[in-house]
């Protein structure tokens, strides 16, 4: 389970997260919704361990271990996975070689046997079907020349391969048309399981029609101001964030 307590974090000296508290038990899918600038992406980067995000107060633990002390690769080995809002293109590095290196690095860190080329390819072919990722895309350079939708499918494909215990989806729906959104959501739903926690960060309620969350949190000004069930997302869409916050205060 993911446990965030009173988290304060700054970027370039500016405080973005201001006392965020949140718990995601194993097996649950929690959505975080919030307006622009509320700290959604900062939260995902702080959880994944990106440099430049300074935690000034509070704690984050996952499976009982202190996440904040760890390098990004150590967090990945522990089972943390961030599906990027803007996946990075890396010309000259093949998608498959990248992913095999990632998978084997994690296996090695966990003391498991590394996969050989044949075992890896078998797994990759199987998982690529989940998000209908074209085989030729697997061989191309990482996200290089991929369309927006292909990049997001590639993120979910990576998630399927690495089988994280905490998946953070940072605006995975942004830039997707409805068909791509359905495919990506199906992929995510197929990966739901009793041992896997998911944090779905989004701006739009639409995604939550397809990935139905157990809990919806409202993030504003760097804090969770309100939490509720999936219907809260609909209310946010219809009534707006300020209205929901005002009611929560009352």
């Amino acid at each position: 389970m993911l446990k965030i307590e009173n988290l304060h974090a700054s970027v370039d000296g500016k405080e973005i997260l201001r006392g965020l508290t949140l718990e995601v038990p194993a097996g649950e899918v929690h959505a975080i919704m919030g307006p622009n600038g509320s700290g959604k992406s900062t939260l995902s980067y702080v959880l994944a361990g990106r440099e430049g995000y300074e935690v000034t107060e509070g704690s984050v633990s996952f499976g009982g271990e202190d996440l904040l002390d760890m390098d990004p690769e150590e967090r990945a080995a522990l089972g943390v996975f961030l599906a990027f809002q803007y996946p990075v293109a890396i010309p000259g590095v093949s998608n498959l070689q990248f992913l095999r290196t990632a998978l084997n690095s994690i296996r090695k860190a966990k003391g498991e046997e590394e996969l050989n080329a044949a075992q890896f390819m078998k797994l990759a072919r199987e998982k690529a079907k989940l998000v209908e990722l074209k085989p030729e895309l697997m061989k191309r350079a990482v996200n290089h020349g991929f369309s927006g939708g292909e990049k997001k499918r590639n993120e979910i494909f990576q998630m399927a391969m690495l089988e994280p215990s905490l998946a953070i989806l940072d605006e995975t729906d942004s830039g997707l048309d409805i068909d791509a959104l359905k495919i990506v959501s199906q992929g995510v739903n197929a990966l739901r399981g009793p041992e896997r926690s998911m944090l779905v960060i989004t701006h739009y309620q639409r995604l939550l029609d397809h990935i139905v969350p157990d809990v919806v949190h409202v993030l504003m000004d760097g804090r969770i101001v309100h939490s509720g069930d999936k219907d809260l997302a609909l209310r946010l869409e219809n009534e707006g964030y300020e209205q929901v916050r005002a009611e929560a205060r009352a």
């Binding site: 990075v88 890396i90 990248f98 095999r100 290196t101 990632a102 890896f120 990576q158």
Partner: protein
């Protein structure tokens, strides 16, 4: 004391073809001497350590393996002296001039191996690629030379095609001059790879001297520790419909310094030209240095041209992306540097690409894990 007085005596054997050249060389050295930091083309590269004794010529360190289709020829006199002080020094002190000629389509590569020694050496070579002939030339510079001052003259006759692979892994001092003369519709492709070395300087000059000639110059260089490399490239479009591409990339780590200076000049006679220059550099440490200066001079209206240069650190976004997937920081860096180096190597014949790859890997972080990555996945 003038430079000439400090020079060792001329070599005993005097190839007759060299006589005129040697005289010119002496004249140039007498008037210009060796460059100092005030010499524009040597602003960033000091040769102050090269003095009288260091310059004394020892036996040749060049060995040639010529395949069927390439033969030695005699020439009455050699072409004009290539520009530059070290080409003149070479002409003044060389004791051998090899002239080779390739005819027809030669399937095996012509191999030249220079082994740096604890004395200076002045190998000099001229290669003619006959009309319509095709050849791959591979030069390897190895060892730890006190000074290798090598001059190579390449003549591509009409319709000739030459692929030139030059791998500079001499850990010592290597100063090279390559001048290329291209005939009509000829094509020259170069892969210049410089991996380290105390002082590596290359002057590569290509003359697109007849209609429709084209060249594709690719290069990769890497410096670390206190290594220093300097590439000066110049392409002259002197005839119409010439095409030139320059793609050079480099990495500088430690206190290494890399210099890249490139000119593409489209002369009044060189209309309908296409000239592209690209130089990208990765600066991997704050103590390393890169000086880059690509420039275009265009004296004609009908030209398609582009040029650009960048110097930057490893991309933080990419690094974080790899690490967030579980790849340790060192290996992630190695992967990104390796990918950066990839482009100038494309199109290189496989056998040499592997050799360069190996040399490159040895210089990268997490090289063993990186080597495993090379395994093909299908």
């Amino acid at each position: 004391m003038s430079l000439l007085e400090t020079l060792p005596a001329s070599p005993k054997s005097e190839p007759p073809a060299m006589k005129a050249l040697r005289e010119q060389a002496h004249e140039r050295l007498a008037s210009e001497g060796l460059p100092t930091k005030k010499t524009e083309a040597w602003r960033f590269t000091s040769v102050a350590a090269l003095t009288g004794e260091t310059l004394a010529a020892g036996p040749s360190t060049l060995s040639v393996e010529a395949p069927k289709g390439v033969s030695t020829v005699e020439r009455e006199s050699l072409e004009a002296l290539p520009a530059g002080p070290f080409a003149a020094l070479n002409a003044a002190l060389t004791d051998e001039t090899v002239v080779l000629r390739a005819e027809g389509v030669v399937s095996e590569p012509l191999s030249l191996r220079y082994t740096g020694a604890d004395h200076a050496s002045y190998p000099r070579m001229r290669l003619e690629v006959a009309k319509g002939a095709e050849l791959t030339l591979v030069e390897r510079f190895e060892g730890e030379g006190a000074l290798t001052d090598a001059v190579l003259e390449l003549v591509l006759e009409d319709g000739a095609r030459l692929r030139h692979v030059r791998i500079q892994r001499d850990a010592g001092r290597l100063i090279g001059s390559v001048s290329v003369t291209q005939g009509r519709d000829s094509h020259y492709a170069a892969h210049v790879i410089t991996l380290g070395g105390a002082l590596q300087r290359l002057d590569l000059k290509v003359g697109l001297d007849a209609q429709g000639a084209s060249c594709d110059l690719r290069g990769f260089y890497a410096v670390d520790g206190s290594e220093h490399c300097d590439h000066h490239v110049r392409v002259d479009h002197r005839a119409p419909h010439g095409t030139s591409h320059q793609t050079f990339r480099g990495i500088a780590d430690g206190k290494g310094v890399a210099v890249f200076d490139s000119q593409a000049i489209v002369h009044r006679t060189g209309g309908h030209a296409e000239a592209h220059q690209e130089n990208r550099n990765l600066l991997l440490s704050s103590s390393a240095g890169v000086h880059t200066k690509p420039h275009l001079e265009i004296d004609h209206d009908e030209v398609v041209a582009s040029h650009g240069a960048t110097v930057g650190a490893l991309d933080e976004d990419s690094l974080f992306y790899l690490r967030s997937r579980g790849i340790p920081a060192d290996l992630a860096r190695g992967i990104l540097i390796h990918a950066f180096a990839h482009e100038p190597l494309t199109g290189m014949p496989d056998a040499f690409a592997k050799e360069v790859e190996q040399g490159l890997l040895e210089r990268l972080p997490a090289s063993e894990a990186l080597a495993d990555l090379g395994e093909e996945l299908a």
